[in-house]
């Protein structure tokens, strides 16, 4: 009997250690977060620990953000995480040859500023990596700002977010500017999951389609045209008709909003299926069914089920994300006739 108790006493701590190890192996960004805190506490022992603390504090939150996003969506819209590479000495020749931006990071206690530097640098390269050159500069800036703002909010980096608003957003996106208009619209659409579920994937897909072509005014005009449609959609009031379609040369999509349980209860699937079938017939390439709240999500799923055996539409992905106390869903379909 005593032996059994001994075994249990020995096993529990080992089981806890093994569980923790498995958890950290599966979630390396969480391990980085803990390492950052420990290294920060012992940073007085040397510069190596100090640098580790700064680097891992930035890496852990950005990498978990990109992982969460890509895992749920199944599309690598944010394919890059980050890794801080320290430089402690260089020569002019190698510096010019490398061509890199070298950012000065402060002592690890300046977490807000260091993290914001990392987030901005990451967004400037990590978001829509293949398509940045083809996007209109103001659309691109609004996308970057929305993404950085979302990262700072999701990761509860409120001190960095305040710095971002005071020192960047207010200056670079003043009220009435196009960057402000698009940023406000993208942020509003994010409340329904549309920013991460539709806007970023469509601009990413646009960039991929461009391949080797040289950016030109037609590309910029198309990205502005899509942003303008999204902006109108973001201001849509209940019961008011706003076209949720954009038919450009490369961006060709439609958003079907499932937002009224009363309409669904009264009319069922019919109006939604009629609209989607109309899009298929009109040659819309991508169709997104979006809903927020459990009732609407269930209704959106029943629309999805109606196309299970369709020869015209193929199901691409389902993305669910938490929106405050609610959840939002974006179901992506591709028109097989285009």
């Amino acid at each position: 009997m005593t032996n059994w108790i001994d075994v249990v006493y020995i096993s529990i701590p080992w089981a806890a250690v093994v569980s923790l190890l498995i958890y950290f192996i599966k979630n390396p960004e969480k391990a980085e977060k803990w390492y950052s805190l420990i290294a920060g506490a012992f940073s007085f022992l040397g510069l190596r620990l100090e640098k580790s603390s700064v680097a891992r504090d930035i890496q852990s939150d950005i990498n978990s953000f990109t992982k969460d996003y890509n895992d749920k969506n199944g599309i690598s819209t944010l394919p890059y995480g980050v890794k801080i590479e320290w430089v402690s000495e260089t020569t002019r020749e190698s510096f010019v040859k490398d061509g890199k931006v070298v950012v000065k990071m402060k002592h690890h206690t300046n977490r807000a500023r260091n993290f914001l530097y990392g987030a901005m640098d990451w967004a400037n390269k990590g978001a829509i990596p293949e398509g940045r050159q083809f996007l209109h500069k103001k659309v691109l800036k609004a996308l970057d700002f929305t993404l950085v703002y979302k990262l700072l909010t999701d990761k509860k980096r409120y001190d960095s977010r305040q710095l971002f608003l005071d020192e960047i957003y207010d200056k670079e996106a003043p009220e009435g500017s196009l960057v402000n208009t698009y940023s406000v619209a993208f942020n509003k659409l994010d409340e329904n999951g549309i920013f991460m579920g539709v806007v970023l994937p469509e601009y990413t897909s646009f960039g991929k389609k461009m391949g080797n072509s040289i950016p030109n005014k037609k590309h910029f005009a198309e990205t502005i045209g899509f942003a303008t449609m999204l902006e109108k959609l973001s201001r849509k009031a209940s019961g008011v008709d706003v076209s949720p379609e954009y038919k450009g040369e490369h961006i060709n999509c439609s958003i079907c909003l499932v937002a009224r349980p009363d309409k669904f209860a009264l009319q069922g699937l019919e109006p939604y299926l009629a609209y989607i079938n109309h899009c298929v017939k009109e040659g819309v390439e991508s169709i997104y069914v979006c809903a927020i709240g459990e009732t609407n999500i269930a209704n959106a799923r029943s629309i999805c089920n109606a196309y299970e055996k369709s020869k015209n539409l193929s199901f691409v992905s389902e993305r669910i994300q938490p929106m405050g106390k609610n959840r939002a869903i974006v179901l992506h379909f591709r028109n097989l006739n285009v």
Binding site: V82, K83, E85, D98, V103, K104, H136
Partner: protein, 80 residues
């Protein structure tokens, strides 16, 4: 995670060594370097980032809107 974008950073405690290697430490200490975007005089304290462009070395101050411009400038965001 398939790929990680490298952020090249210098810790503030290594800044002097890096500037010395570039032959620019004295210029910064003497106040002869300015931010490309706002024209503010660069010091060891307010320097935020450096990058090469057309065989020149560009300095940017710690104003975050200058940093945003520097990132765009370094990555060649096209003027439209």
């Amino acid at each position: 995670m398939s790929e990680r974008h490298k952020i090249t950073a210098v810790h503030e405690r290594n800044l002097e060594e890096v500037l010395k290697g570039l032959g620019l430490l004295d210029s910064v200490k003497d106040g002869n370097v300015v931010c490309k975007f706002c024209g503010k005089r660069i010091t060891l304290d307010n320097l935020n980032c450096i990058y090469p462009k057309d065989d020149d070395i560009i300095f940017c101050c710690d104003d975050l809107s200058c940093f945003q411009k520097a990132l765009e400038d370094a990555r060649g965001v096209r003027m439209q």
